[in-house]
């Protein structure tokens, strides 16, 4: 056997071995998402800014947002500002947000909210990554950047409800 076929066989065997190998079970990633108990004001901001029925208030979106003026969770509910967003909807919104990029979000949380643009959610909201819905965090109506402040304060582990509340006053 010449050296060429031997090398080919070695590459093949090596490739198969590599393809069939699995990571050891003890190396699985364990997410450390942001706090759920302080998410409600953030959810209300996201519902208003991103959760309309023609945007993220749609079941086909990875970031699926339920809320009073968009997609409703309970079959008997309809979108209307005359009713409030339910706790179940906020819980679903939380699962949707933290499930987008669990590794990156855990890393942001672990670093106290540093460099939040590691998250696609933040990049799209700020318009630094292509986003069909534009840059809702750069809205001319949001001159103070309260939407951004609301989300990033939550990611830092120190949710400040004040900018979230102010964000709801915007159109």
């Amino acid at each position: 056997m010449t050296a060429r076929p031997i090398a080919a066989v070695a590459v093949l065997v090596g490739g198969v071995a590599l393809a069939c190998s699995t990571a050891p079970s003890d190396a699985r990633f364990v997410a450390t998402p942001p706090d759920e108990t302080s998410f409600a004001p953030v959810a209300l901001m996201l519902i208003q800014a991103c959760g309309t029925l023609d945007c993220h208030g749609t079941v086909g979106r990875n970031l699926r947002l339920y809320g009073n003026t968009g997609l409703r969770l309970r079959p008997g509910d309809v979108p209307t500002a005359l009713t409030a967003t339910t706790n179940d909807e906020i819980e679903q919104d939380y699962m949707s947000v933290v499930g987008l990029e669990p590794e990156a979000m855990s890393a942001v949380v672990a670093s106290g909210g540093a460099d939040p643009e590691r998250l696609t959610l933040v990049r799209k909201a700020r318009g630094t990554e292509a986003h069909k819905g534009g840059a809702p965090f750069l809205s001319p109506d949001d001159k103070e950047g309260v939407r951004d402040e609301c989300l990033t304060s939550w990611l830092s582990g120190k949710t400040d409800p004040s900018p979230c509340t102010r964000a709801l006053m915007q159109p």
């Binding site: 309309t52 029925l53 023609d54 945007c55 079941v59 309809v78 500002a81 159109p171």
Partner: protein, 168 residues
């Protein structure tokens, strides 16, 4: 020979861009015209206008935003003569648009090409004005979201929420 190839490529690209099965299905689902109602400003009230009026090659004229206004949530009595004003994400205000006999209203791109999201600043009938609570995220058809019957993913058709006793 080379020109022929280029022509074929252009034709193939044009054919490909015109064939969107999702869009085709959505248009087919709208059904045919209502007998006795000719194509024009009074046709297909309540349907998602921009589905066809999207400006694509061979389609009817483009609408940037369009819809149909009804009097209340439960009936399909159209409101004519209502004045609708929008405002886009950059603060640009649309020219006022008046609803016609069947409640239809629409802006063509030369009249208003908004940057989304868009606010429905006011819908005015007489001296009564209302506004939409949430914004329009990107769909130029009101009926893209406002579909009957109301349910978890739709508030139902667009209606004026008229005060008791008010008639269009």
């Amino acid at each position: 020979m080379r020109h022929a190839r280029v022509a074929w490529l252009i034709a193939a690209a044009a054919f490909g861009s015109a064939c969107d099965p999702v869009h085709d299905d959505a248009v087919s689902a709208l059904g045919g015209e209502t007998p006795g109602v000719p194509q024009g400003p009074l046709h297909r009230a309540g349907q998602p206008c921009a589905e066809c009026h999207d400006g694509a090659f061979g389609d009817p004229p483009a609408f940037s935003l369009a819809g149909t206004l009804y009097l209340d949530a439960t009936g399909l009595t159209p409101v004519s003569g209502a004045i609708v004003i929008l405002q886009d994400a950059n603060g640009v205000t649309s020219p006022p648009m008046t609803t016609n006999e069947v409640g239809n209203f629409f802006w063509t791109p030369d009249q208003f090409t908004p940057t989304y999201p868009v606010q429905v600043n006011s819908v005015t009938v007489g001296v009564v004005a209302v506004a939409m609570h949430s914004h329009i995220g990107g769909n130029g058809s009101c009926a893209g979201c406002h579909v009957d019957p109301p349910g978890p993913d739709s508030p139902g058709h667009v209606y004026f929420n008229a005060p008791p006793g008010m008639t269009p």
